[in-house]
């Protein structure tokens, strides 16, 4: 580009930036003045106040109504993270399988997958979500729960599993064993993993893992771990919806691999599976990864539909907190910050993976 054009572009961009800054400053100033006129003050002090509401699903972090609003929001954030992480992984797995199967030489299988993908892709996610939630409500009540295995109950209250408690040291040692196994070449062979493995077994023997089976008491099961129907419906809807999109990405990326590459692999005597794994996928993956990142980000954002069926995700809890305390602008800001950082985090992680792919040039090595 010529220097003059360069300068013009710089001036235009600077002007646009300046204008945006002025507008943002004007909005912020007027908002704060207006709030002050109404005797309202912005502030995050309310995060320390007791929540006084109950949360249905809690994972990893216990919660009682006497805990702070900040902790309630954290519980919601962990719920969102759980759904997003499980959802992304499952959607990619299901999407890959569906995408590959759509390229199958069997026309019946191809048609079936195509119909399924088209139906899911063209159904609004909220409708899918409400449909799945309503279907799960048709399961039998707790008194007549299905028991496929001893201690496992399936009812309209969700899937109840036996709770297993393992000593803290056993978990730490088991994790160390896995790490030592992975790094055994650098740690000089099998000695370290073997020692750690024995230590894990000893620890497990000293504090044997306890299994608590849930009991039906009154309205519901007490004890055990419950996978609520809301979580199941949300996860299923997100995975179905997003994997349909991902399968199209996979299919497109595989089709984009030049025909010659496949022919060359065939000429070398590779099987179909070998061709796919060693030749087609490594090339296709490069085209796919940025789109997979986009799909994961959509899934995270879509998980906020949880509020429609009653799963306490971060949006649901922020809504409640904002409504009970009147700090709706602050909770909205937290919501924006949460989703922005989650999206950037996923984009950064998959971006790094993509850079790695481009650097090494091979995907599945």
């Amino acid at each position: 580009m010529r220097p003059a054009a360069d300068r013009r572009a710089a001036i235009a961009q600077g002007a646009a930036l300046g204008l945006t800054a002025v507008v943002v400053w004007w909005l912020a100033r007027n908002t704060s003045v207006s709030l002050a006129q109404r005797g309202l003050t912005l502030g995050f002090g309310f995060l320390g106040h007791p929540a006084n509401f109950e949360i249905g699903d809690t994972w990893w972090l216990s919660f009682s109504p006497a805990d702070s609003i900040g902790r309630a929001i954290l519980v919601g954030l962990l719920n969102t993270a759980l759904v997003s992480a499980l959802g992304c992984v499952l959607a990619i797995i299901v999407g890959f399988i569906a995408g590959i199967l759509r390229l199958s030489p069997n026309p019946a299988l191809r048609g079936l997958i195509r119909a399924a993908v088209e139906i899911v892709r063209n159904t609004p996610l909220l409708l899918l979500l409400l449909f799945l939630a309503a279907s799960l409500h048709e399961l039998p009540p707790p008194q007549h729960a299905l028991t496929p295995l001893h201690g496992v109950f399936l009812s309209d209250r969700g899937l109840v599993l036996p709770a297993m408690t393992i000593g803290g040291w056993t978990i730490v040692l088991a994790a160390a064993t896995v790490i030592a196994l992975a790094l055994r070449r650098r740690l000089g062979g099998w000695i370290a993993p073997a020692v750690l493995g024995v230590a894990t077994l000893v620890s497990a023997a000293v504090h044997p893992p306890a299994v608590a089976v849930a009991q039906l008491r009154g309205f519901n099961f007490a004890g055990g771990v419950t996978l609520s129907p809301e979580l199941a419906a949300l996860l299923a809807a997100l995975v179905l919806h997003q994997s349909a999109h991902i399968s199209e990405v996979v299919r497109g990326a595989v089709l984009a691999v030049p025909r010659g590459q496949r022919d060359a692999a065939g000429a070398l005597g590779m099987s179909r599976w070998q061709t796919l794994r060693l030749v087609v996928m490594p090339v296709a993956l490069r085209a796919m990864v940025p789109l997979l990142a986009t799909n994961c980000v959509s899934l995270i954002k879509n998980s906020s539909l949880a509020v429609a069926i009653g799963f306490p995700d971060v949006v649901s809890i922020l809504n409640t907190a904002g409504n009970q305390t009147g700090h709706s602008i602050e909770t909205m800001l937290i919501m924006i910050a949460v989703y922005l950082s989650l999206s950037l985090l996923v984009a950064a992680a998959l971006g790094r993976y993509n850079a790695h792919l481009l650097r090494t040039g091979s995907a599945l090595s």
Binding site: N30, L40, P65, V307, A308, G326
Partner: protein, 361 residues
């Protein structure tokens, strides 16, 4: 608190729009607020809301959809208990029950809508609480409905009182005081429950019908409405227990004194009219009355409500065009309606209830 039955398809977009709207309107307000004239007819100081209403030629009333309280009829005309009080405001100001613009809100959106100036008043079943008055800076009109939170359960569950709900899964609607009351009730009675917080009341109704929830908890009036949404209402029962006080009143922004007084006295007038025995049918006959207190009330003699700056006979118009409290209650909620709500505490003080109007003199 109670009822909001719209399907939540566009809820998310609406909420975002509401948030952006709040920010934008708050930003814009600093510019427009000083423009209001300092002395309204009948005003007590600066009243931007009242002058805006007069300039617009209509009252903007925030409502929340729910059978009996606010629903559009087949012709698309809003009807209901809350709607009638909004219409009474339209009559008081413009002698026309149709000079009202209705803006439906969910429980979550309502306060943002009022704060941002999108509506002049909320008549949507909001409970008066100290933190809403003192921390969120809202003004409340007189209590126009005395309610309390209760439970709706399936008859087959054999539950007959609230304390039997230990360990139950209870569906509640998001953005209400219900969740807090329920939590307090459980802590006070040392019972546990599992909440499922839904954004949409219809989802909660589906969950109760499907057996996912053992109970729905809402205000008593809301439960009567919710019960009519079930496919087999006769299979469900509202428990007699009330676990909270829910005094329902109209909500306004602070700093609009003349407007506040108009809302106050319009509500009082419906109660006072019932006490005098003046109703929609017989109102015209009272023009010949010789009872001085009734003559003052109806504006046949000056003095009672001059300070409001309204037509001297506004009370007569309100009763003729909308009705007294009993007319409004019976038409929308009473035993002759599908809701069949008993007046209970909402009887006149002379009949053993709590409704009591200050004297019009």
């Amino acid at each position: 608190m109670r009822r909001a039955a719209r399907l939540g398809m566009w809820r998310r977009a609406e909420r975002l729009a509401a948030a952006v709207g709040v920010a934008a309107a708050l930003a814009a307000c600093t510019e427009s607020a000083p423009g209001a004239s300092p002395n309204e007819p009948g005003g007590g100081g600066a009243t931007p809301t009242l002058s805006a209403i007069r300039a617009r030629g209509a009252v903007k009333c925030g409502i929340t959809e729910g059978a009996g309280f606010a629903t559009p009829d087949d012709a698309g005309r809003w009807r209901g208990f809350d709607v009638d009080f909004c219409r009474a405001l339209g009559v008081a100001l413009f002698d026309d029950p149709d000079k009202v613009q209705f803006i439906p809100y969910t429980q979550e959106q309502r306060f943002s809508g009022l704060q941002s100036g999108e509506v002049d008043v909320l008549v949507n079943g909001t409970t008066i609480t100290s933190s809403r008055a003192l921390r969120q800076h809202f003004h409340f009109g007189p209590i126009y409905f005395y309610d309390g939170q209760g439970f709706l359960v399936a008859k087959s569950s054999k539950v007959t009182k609230a304390s039997m709900l230990d360990g139950a899964t209870i569906c509640v609607q998001q953005g209400t005081t219900t969740e807090l009351n329920l939590t307090d009730f459980a802590r006070r009675n040392k019972i546990t429950f599992h909440p499922v917080v839904m954004e949409d009341l219809r989802a909660a109704v589906g969950a109760l019908a499907g057996g996912r929830c053992d109970a729905i908890s809402q205000d008593g009036a809301g439960l009567a409405t919710t019960r009519t949404m079930l496919q087999h209402p006769a299979d469900y029962v509202v428990l007699p227990d009330r676990i909270s006080k829910e005094p329902i009143a109209a909500v306004m922004r602070t700093g609009d004194d003349a407007w506040l007084e108009i809302v106050n006295w319009v509500f009082h007038a419906t109660v006072q009219a019932e006490e005098f025995g003046i109703d929609q049918k017989n109102a015209a006959q009272f023009a010949q009355t010789t009872d001085p207190s009734i003559r003052r009330f109806l504006g046949l003699e000056p003095g009672a409500t001059d300070g409001l700056g309204l037509d001297p006979q506004w009370t007569l118009h309100v009763i003729e065009k909308v009705g007294n409290y009993k007319d409004i209650f019976d038409r929308n909620l009473g035993p002759a309606t599908p809701l069949g709500i008993d007046r209970g505490l909402n009887k006149l003080w002379t009949d053993g209830g709590l409704l009591y109007s200050p004297p019009f003199r």
